[in-house]
Subunit: 249 residues, 2 copies
Amino acid sequence: MAVVDIQFTAHDCGGCPIKHRAVCARCDDDELSLLEEIKYYRSFEAGQTVLWSGDPMDFVGSVVTGVATLSQTMEDGRTQMVGLLLPSDFVGRPGRGEAAYDVTAVTDLTMCCFRRKPFEKLMERTPHIAQRLLQMTLDELDAAREWMLILGRKTAREKIASLIFILGRRDASLGLGTTTVGQMTFDLPLTREAMADYLGLTLETVSRQISALKKEGVIDLQGKRRVHVPDHERLLAETGDDADGGMVA
Amino acid sequence: MAVVDIQFTAHDCGGCPIKHRAVCARCDDDELSLLEEIKYYRSFEAGQTVLWSGDPMDFVGSVVTGVATLSQTMEDGRTQMVGLLLPSDFVGRPGRGEAAYDVTAVTDLTMCCFRRKPFEKLMERTPHIAQRLLQMTLDELDAAREWMLILGRKTAREKIASLIFILGRRDASLGLGTTTVGQMTFDLPLTREAMADYLGLTLETVSRQISALKKEGVIDLQGKRRVHVPDHERLLAETGDDADGGMVA
DNA sequence: GCGATGCCTTGACGTAGATCAACCTTGGGC
DNA sequence: GCCCAAGGTTGATCTACGTCAAGGCATCGC
């Protein structure tokens, strides 16, 4: 089956319960079968730590289902999330033998892993893999830079609005949640504490700001996790970003 | 002359005043001569804006001499620096036709540029370019994540110490400045305001914290720009990071 | 030499968000 | 149905940093 580009995304197409597609129209079959050969799946429960920073890491891979985070912790316990991994996001770095960040499953998680050494070899011989990874890494870098603006210059309220906006945007682009013109409903995959670690705030401040946005009708909550945004524009206005194109990708 | 890997670094080797090496032992001469063909230099004075966010961008390139910054500005004028470009750093994104950030020369600046379209074509045919760019982008992503910890969780004092540490480390790795065991001396390439934009602080806070570190003997200043760090370990202790390997690459 | 200009420093004061602490909600196990 | 634990909310207070304002100190053109 010929596919135009290499995909690191989840597909359910029989065989193994969740099939991970890694095929490329321009690479020959040997490459593909090798990729299949070094592939395996790992599952984690919500709350489990996948890897501690400094652990040896003999695989790279990507998230198939669930949500994971990358975070850094200082000696005194202050922690900052530095990556939020949703389905199709890549984990690990070719050429790096140990984890640079703590990787944690925040929901039940399935990952598709490739043994690192053979993957690196394959990457040398199959240019499209490196090209695809380059695009993905550049996207992550853009996201990191948007995140830096949030961390460095936004108020607590703007931070919360931005986070909700970003999570909604990602869910929408993955076809999750409900989206109608100007509205959306979806689940927050993070606890208040995880949101605080994302935004460089305390969990109390997160809670207060969410309450405030709720009281003012910017968002609506069903339970603690499910969010309804009645007016997309209104939320965007609260993020501090300008309407068009202010936020990347 | 055969070189093992593609380099995006500055070399003065005759021909053009500052020669930009883009050679690869494993690629044939045609590729190389094409890379030479689409190459040109641009110079900017300190303070000049290279590109505004949203400007069309028909080149990619790298810094040859000087320092430039990437930054994002909100409607009300708050700005956050999201990239600090020193010699050999890459600018631009293959496949992106407009600048996503403001690019500013903070010192006199020379850049080596390649016309974007032909560069992209060349990249498709010359795998080592994508592989090299991938490594560089991954390094930038690591730096961005270190930066996120600084922005989100560190105190003003720790931020300043971290910045001085990072700048010293980079200067040392480029062979600039003076380094003896446990000591170093180098020039801050940034104004107080630029440091504030880097760290998500105000320039007054930057100034106060620098004064405090000076008063306490952690650093020493000759003029406003030249820094002497008498005890590397002492400075590192002030950054809040743990001694070994806490900070990436 | 002498303003003028662009950084930088320092001080006084205000405030957003952290901290400390109590309490509430929800869901699971029995 | 009841208890318990984990996560979430809300209030009172504290403080690090921002804001506003007044100089200081080099460098430049004249």
